[in-house]
Every structure is written in C-alpha cells, then in structure tokens.
C-alpha cells in the first residue's frame, strides 16, 4: 500500500528518528509512505482567524500535491501537522466560498476541490492496517515494559479533528498492547505539555511537564509514549532541570510510538535514533531485555 505522506519541518531534522522509525515499521506492515514531491509548511498551530485566508494557502497546496500523487488520503506523523492540515481542510470543505478565495490566491495552480482526507498515521494503523495484523508482526514483544501513552492536545481537540474519543481515547493503548507492552493509564495524558510556550514561558512548560511525568511515575509508569515532536521535546528535555529542582524526581524516557513499533518488530537499533534522547532510554530497554 502506497500512501501520500506529509512530513513537516521537524521530521526532517529534530525528529528524524520519528520519521525513520515510522518508515521502517511501516514497511514491515507493507505500507509505503510516499513523501509529497514538494511540500510547504503546514501552517503550524492551525491558523484560526476567520478573516486571514492567506494562511490557509499552504495547506491547500499540500492537498493539491497529494492529488497529484494520485491519492485522496494524506498521512502525517506529527500531531501538530495533523491538526493544522485537518482543521484547515475541514474549514475549506465547510466554507466553499472561502475555498474559492483560497483557490484564487493560487492563480497558476489548479483549484483544490476539498476531496483530500487528512489522517494521522495512528488512524492508518488502526483503521486500515489493523492492530491484529500488527500483533502478527511482533518479533520482540515489549513484555514487562510499563508505558504511559501521552496524547497531548492536537490528536484529540477540537472534536472535529479528534482521531478518537475526546475524553476516553484508546488508540495508543490498543496499539501498545498489540506490541505486548503494559499500559499505565495517567489522567493527564490529554493535558497540554506547554507547547510553544516553552520559548517564552519555559517555567510554565516545565511545571506542566513535572505534573505529567509524576502522574506517570506515581502509577508505576516507566516510559511515556507520544506522537508529537514538540511534546517529545518538552517532555524529554525539560526533565533534566526538574531533577535539579525536585530532589527525588524520577526521570522517565519518552518515546515516539513508532520507535516502540520498530523495537517490537525487531528492527535494527539504529532506526530508533535513541541517541537523540535527553533522558537516556538505554538502561530501561536493557533491563527489559529489549536491546
């Protein structure tokens, strides 16, 4: 199966381990993510103003490229790209007059007709591949690894774009269970990590990360799993300071779900890009006999 894929900025640099592990595990499942030949910034954190349509042009271009690839589904890995593209797409579908104006901004290109569907890689795995099929491909079950799924905001909110139940999501839990991991359910799995506020208000983000991580460790969690490069950055890198600030603070490694997939599928360690992590996951993985 070949599916058009939108990477977005971070997947090409900061989070290239996310992309690499996703590509590798996708190919185990017979899925080929075909990168758009030419792509534009998603417009990060959906442009919400009603009166500035120019910000929605880049997503429209991405959808045109998708159609040129001969697809009508566009897959993203990054939660923020997913959210932005999906929201903008829905906006264009709901407001044909606005879509017309957006189209008028792209004079040389063909008009976008609103027929592309944006899906997150998690949805593809759940709805098209199926977790049962994934279970068959597991070579190294993540036995005994207590992981806490962390959704953050943008996969679930607002409700128009939610890939799962808003209040009680299970997609990551089901995925990780199929890999053999043990699930730790934290009530803060939908709480914001501080997002881009990490730049202006590092303290704010830091406090949130403290809450999120301690809620996990309190419940016996050994690792956090996410699907967003920004969540990953906040949850991973801000922990260093927390150890200094709070005596007895227990650091936990943060993974992208695709890293755990690759691990369970028995792929080579180098696709995981574990060296990029601030909180070293090696000890944990070794202790569980996973590397």
């Amino acid at each position: 199966m070949r599916v058009p894929y939108f990477p977005g900025c971070s997947l090409k640099d900061f989070a290239d381990n996310f992309e690499k592990s996703a590509f590798a595990s996708a190919s185990v499942l017979g899925v080929e993510l075909v990168e758009l030949p030419e792509w534009y910034c998603c417009g990060v954190v959906a442009p919400l103003e009603e009166d500035e349509l120019i910000r929605k042009v880049a997503p429209a271009r991405n959808f045109l490229r998708t159609k040129e690839l001969g697809g009508n589904k566009l897959v993203t890995l990054c939660s923020m790209c997913y959210n932005t593209l999906k929201l903008t797409n829905l906006y264009m579908k709901k407001n044909p007059d606005k879509l017309e104006r957006i189209n008028s901004f792209m004079d040389e290109e063909e008009n976008y007709d609103g027929t592309v569907e944006v899906i997150h890689f998690l949805e593809l795995l759940r709805d098209i591949v199926g977790f049962e099929k994934m279970r068959e491909k597991v070579k190294k079950p993540l036995k005994g690894l207590k992981v806490a799924p962390y959704y953050g905001c943008l996969l679930l909110r607002p409700k128009e774009v939610a890939i799962d139940s808003l209040e009680k999501p299970t997609v990551m839990e089901d995925l990780l269970k199929s890999l053999g991991a043990e699930i730790v359910n934290s009530p803060l799995k939908k709480t914001c990590c501080g997002s881009y506020q990490v730049i202006n208000n590092k303290e704010v983000a830091s406090k949130l990360v403290y809450k999120i991580i301690t809620a996990v460790t309190k419940r016996g969690g050994e690792a956090v799993v996410t699907s967003c490069p920004l969540c990953h950055y906040n949850l991973d890198s801000l922990q260093k300071d927390l150890s200094d600030k709070y005596p007895g603070y227990k650091e936990v490694p943060v993974f992208y779900f695709t890293q755990l997939m690759a691990l369970a599928f028995g792929l080579e360690e180098e696709v995981l890009g574990l060296e990029k992590h601030e909180v070293n996951p090696l000890n944990l993985l070794k202790s569980k006999g996973l590397i």
Binding site: S165, E167, K168, P187, A215, K218
Partner: protein, 651 residues
C-alpha cells in the same frame, strides 16, 4: 348557487386600510355572488343578525364572511348560519384582516387587491362545498393511565373518585415511581413514605381502579372515545392471588442482583419485592437471574419455602385487551446514566455517584439505614462534592435544557448530608441556582446558613483519582481562581432524561416526542396536557421534568381533561374526511401508504380503496398521493383547489 358575501370592517382594523367599496364592487361581479354587504362588526349581535336576515331574505345557499382569521370566528359564523337552517359547512371565512389589512397597512391598494382575490377564491371554494353533518360516535367511559408514579397515581385517583373506571398500567412490579426512591422532599422535608404510600394503598383498594403492575401497553388502535388497548402482563412466576408478600422466598434465594430500586447501591435477590411498602406487595422473579429459569432446572428454593405455594415457574405472559375512551400517559423521567459522563469518571470510580443514588444513601429507609457512607469502602465521606448541571445545559455534549429540579435537591442533599455528618463538608459547584417555587428560595437560604456548604460558581472540568482521593478540577468564577478539591465522594446531579422506552410507547400511541423523547404537547402554552392525538393526555414529567408539586397539579389537570371528554356518552367529530370515487379508483394503494392512520384499506374483493371514516383524521395526504382524482378530501376537492388557484395565480 346563491352566494352571499359579508364584509366586516372590524372597526378600523379592516376598513382603515382596505377599500370596502371597491371590494364590494368587485366581488359583486363574481359569478354566483347574489348579495354583498358590509358592516362595522360582523361578529357583533347586530352583525350576526344581519347575516341571518339576509340568508332568509335572499334565499342564500352559501355564505362567505370576509373578516378575521377562521381560527377566531369560524365557529361563531357557522353556528349563526346553522340557526337559520343553512348548513354550517356552507359558510367559509375569507381572512382579510390578518392576511391583508394588517400586514400591508402602508399599501392600501395592493392590500385591497389581495383581499378581493382572497374573497373570490373563498367564494369559489364555498360554491362546491357540500352540506355535512358532524360524525357522532359513542364513547367508552373508561380511562387508561400508563405509569404508576405519583403522576399516574394522582390522575387515577382523581378519575376513579369521579366514578369512572381506570386501568393503571405500571411496567415495574410496584407503583410508586421515582418519588418512592427519594429520601426526603424539598422544601418541606417530608418523607415520601409518609405522603406517597397512603396514596399507593388507596390505589390498590379503590373499587374503580384496575391495577396492572408489571405490565406494558403493547398496542393501541382506535380513536378518541374508542381506543382498543393491548396490555402485556409479564410473567412474574408468582401467583399473585396466593402471594401474601411475606418475603420468605427472598430470604432463601441464593442469587444476588444489583437493586434497581436502590439504583445499584444495594442488592436484591432474584425473587424480590421491590421495597417493603410496595404496592402490590407481591414477589416477582427476575427471569434473567433466577437459576431455575435460566437453566430450566435445579434450585427452586423459593418454591420449597413459600408457605402459600405461590411460586409457578411455568407461568406465561398474557396479553389482555381493554377498551377505553381516553388515555393518560404518565411515564415520568429517568436520570442520565453517570457512566456517560466519562470526564467526571462516572461508571469508572465507585465513589462518583448520581444524585438518585445519593438519595438512597440518605434515605432513612435506604440500604444504609440513612447512615451516609460511600460505596467503595463503606467509610463516612468527610468531603463531598456536588456537581450540578452534569449533562444539563450542555448542548455541545449532552442535554441543552436545564433539568429544573437539581438546584433544589442538591441543596436538600447538602443539608441532609450536614445533618448526617456534622463534621463533614460539602462543596456545591453550580452555574446558577434556580429556586422557582413556593418556599424554594427560603429553603435555599436555610441550606446556605444551616448546611455551611461552600457554593462555588463554576462548572467542573474533570474528575480523576489521585492518591486515593477524587481530584475535582473546577473554578470559582467569582474570585477568578481555579479550584482543586480532593473529595471522598462526588455526587453528580445528572440530567433528567425521558424514561426508557418512551419513544417506542409513543409510536404505539401514535403521539409525538420531541428530539430528546419528552412527550410533545398539543400546544406548549395553551394545551400542555393534551397531545396532538385527541383523547390522549400527558401527566407529569413525561412531558418535561417537573417537581412533585407541579407533577401532582399537572396530573390532576390531565385527569380533569379526560373527565371532561368522557362526561357525555357520545362525542362529535368533524366530518371532514376522505371519500373514494369507486368508479375511478384503480386500487394502486398509494393512498394506503400515504395514510398515517391506517384508515384506508384496499378491499380484496373489489380492489378498490375503502375508508374507515372513524380513523380518518382528514389530513388529505391520500388525495395528494392519488394519481387520478379517485380519493379526495370532503370540501377540499381538487376542483375547489383548482378554481382557487386559477383565481389567485392570475395577475
């Protein structure tokens, strides 16, 4: 055809805008019109006399009164004409006030033009009207009351005391409804056992009331005054004629099931009496859990124990048919299942409960004997958080409406809790406190002083368990601060919702529900006790959530409506029904499909449509479905419509 047209001035209401002389002049030219006359108030005594005189003098055989809306005076003018021997259906109203003079005040000429067209079209209609006599049908002077809560009980007693027979059908094994589950009632703090139980007993002993407990209405046919009702009497597996209600059976029954009456706070047995004061006070076996009934053999301990030999595992359900003239629907309400409120941990945490469950915990006759303990570990909760509007006033996620009684019962519960746990503390999250009833505001004030509860103005965001406590995340909008409370027990004032199965029942009764399932009244303001189907009335919270005071008043109102309907032996119906031209009918059955009331059948002998005029409501859907003009509505014939259209459509 000799048509007389009478043009009313309605003071200046009509004459102030319309050119009466022009109207008279134009209308007089219309074919068939032999007399035109105007008067300042046609509906006044002299005005009516004028019409009567002209009918006689001019030998009129049809009359058009050009005046106000037919919904105001159609009856008046028809009766007036009838008094001098003109068939009332030969009188039609042309509405030139609401439809011409009033809405076009600034355009007198166009308005006059429009009025002339309306009058001419009405003249065309009345010319082809045929004289009709009202249909008179006998009535069965008995009433069916569906639902045995306080509404059904009150309505049944009112009707039975007036001397009419009542069939009271209740789906549970006992009557009493929600009220029997309450601890104490606001604002008087009476216990329902003291005020409802006597009424329940009265129902059981009343010679005019046939109580069908553990029964359901499965089919209703017929029409006002003549309903035929099929009632399913479910198998109780206990011969109620023998059962004495001694409860020995329940003592020996080995199966424990969550109690519906206690809303899961306690357990009952597979053979059970709903509660000690149940009426009828008879045992019922729950076939889904009884070992004998599930496996078809074994157990049978109850049968061995029963001193009266009342247990009968072979009992079958029965369908009984009853004839009634009116039906009162008093099916009440339910509360939203707390497990739907996932963000509040409903259904997930044992100590997040619904207010109805808390009623049972507070009730002196409840499973804990009135001792307030929490479900998870039986400990006394020291911090209780009440969350109001849980599922109410939330069009985005749940119910958009205000559930109306929660403010009051939450206040009551906070007070009763304080009485039971003097060193405990209650927090109440609210959006607005609504106390719209006699003595309610006073009661709320009493609670504020006496319960020492902390009222927080804000809606709770979410609840989760942290370190053994229930963490409630809320806000106090008055101080502008976020709020976190670590609670022992959370009580959700879950939204009131229509009772389960009401939509199916409404279908059986051919009455309407609104989008949530509340029964739809004929008119929200003026006919709140009636449904659009004549002869079927609503009592109590089935129409919309209401407190006990209002429910009882509403039920008495419904009873009065039913009594007034059945005060005579016959009732009259409008004779405007469909009729078939057998020569033309090809028996295609389109009309059968189009008829909502199953009033049309194809006669298998002749292959021609036949109408049961008793069932026909006169909507005319059949005539629109007929490709030839074989089925038509009396006095709305296609010919009439065609003539009217051709007048109105021309420039």
């Amino acid at each position: 055809m000799r048509v007389g047209v009478f043009v009313c001035h309605c003071g200046r209401n009509i004459a102030g805008t319309l050119n009466i002389e022009k109207i008279k002049e134009e209308v007089a030219k219309h074919s068939g019109v032999v007399h035109v006359e105007d008067y300042i108030f046609m509906c006044s005594d002299p005005g009516q006399k004028l019409i009567r005189d002209r009918i006689k003098e001019k030998n009129l055989d049809a009359v058009v009164v050009s005046a106000c809306s037919p919904s105001l005076h159609e009856k008046t003018f028809r009766n007036n004409a009838a008094s001098v021997g003109l068939n009332p259906y030969k009188v039609e109203i042309a509405n030139i006030r609401e439809w011409a003079s009033w809405p076009h005040e600034g355009k007198p000429e166009e308005a006059t033009e429009k009025a002339i067209k309306i009058i001419k079209a009405t003249v065309e209609k009345v010319k082809s009207n045929i004289p009709l006599e009202p249909l008179s049908v006998p009535v069965t002077r008995k009433v069916l009351v569906i639902g045995g809560g306080i509404a059904g009980i009150q309505a049944s007693l009112d009707i039975a005391n007036a001397g009419l027979e009542v069939y009271l059908v209740e789906k549970k094994p006992s009557i009493g409804g929600k009220m029997a589950q309450f601890s104490e009632t606001f604002p008087t703090l009476d216990c329902p056992q003291c005020i409802e139980t006597p009424k329940m007993t009265e129902v059981a002993n009343h010679p005019n009331i046939h109580l069908y407990a553990y029964s359901e209405v499965v089919d209703v046919s017929g029409f006002v005054g003549n309903f035929k009702v099929k009632v399913k009497r479910k198998a109780t597996y206990v011969d109620w004629n023998k059962c004495t209600g001694c409860s020995e059976c329940a003592k020996v029954c080995p199966v424990k099931v969550s109690s519906e009456y206690d809303v899961g706070v306690s357990q009952r047995k597979a053979i059970y009496i709903m509660f000690p004061q149940a009426v009828p006070n008879k045992a019922t076996i729950d076939p889904e859990h009884c070992l004998r009934l599930v496996y078809g053999k074994g157990c049978g301990l109850c049968a061995k124990t029963c001193p009266a030999g009342a247990i009968n595992f072979e009992q079958k359900e029965k369908i009984e048919e009853i004839d009634v003239g009116a039906i009162i629907v008093a099916t009440g309400f339910d509360v939203m299942d707390p497990s739907l409120l996932t963000e509040y941990g409903g259904g997930k945490y044992k100590d997040v409960i619904s207010a109805l469950q808390f009623e049972r915990i507070l009730a002196p006759s409840g499973p804990t004997g009135g001792k307030v303990v929490r479900p998870s570990d039986g400990k006394e909760p020291k911090t209780v958080v009440f969350v109001q509007c849980a599922g109410s006033r939330d069009p985005e996620h749940y119910m958009p409406y205000c559930s109306k009684v929660c403010c009051m019962y939450t206040a009551k519960q906070a007070l009763l809790y304080k009485h039971a746990v003097p060193n405990g503390h209650a927090y109440v999250f609210y959006i607005d406190v609504r106390t719209d009833g006699k003595g309610y505001e006073e009661f709320y004030e009493r609670v504020l002083r006496e319960a020492e509860a902390t009222y927080l103005r804000g809606k709770v965001a979410e609840i989760y368990k942290e370190d053994g406590k229930l963490k409630v995340l809320g806000v106090d909008t008055l101080t502008g601060k976020g709020v976190e409370i670590n609670a022992d027990l959370v009580v959700l004032a879950t939204a009131a919702v229509p009772s389960e199965g009401i939509k199916e029942l409404a279908k059986v009764l051919r009455i309407q529900t609104d989008e949530y399932g509340w029964l739809k009244e004929a008119h929200l303001k003026l006919r709140p006790l009636e449904t659009a189907t004549s002869g079927i009335f609503i009592a109590g919270a089935a129409q919309f959530i209401r407190d006990i005071t209002d429910t009882v008043s509403h039920a008495s109102g419904a009873a009065a409506k039913a009594l007034s309907l059945l005060s005579r032996n016959r009732i009259e119906r409008e004779p405007l029904v469909a009729e078939v031209n057998e020569e033309i009918c090809s028996g295609c059955g389109n009309c059968v499909e189009a008829c909502t009331y199953q009033a049309i059948k194809i006669d298998p002998e002749t292959n021609i449509a036949k109408i049961n005029t008793a069932l026909c409501e006169g909507c005319g859907a059949c005539q629109a479905s007929c490709p030839s003009a074989a089925i038509q509505l009396t006095n709305s014939y296609k010919k009439q419509l065609f003539e009217m259209i051709s007048i109105l459509a021309k420039e």
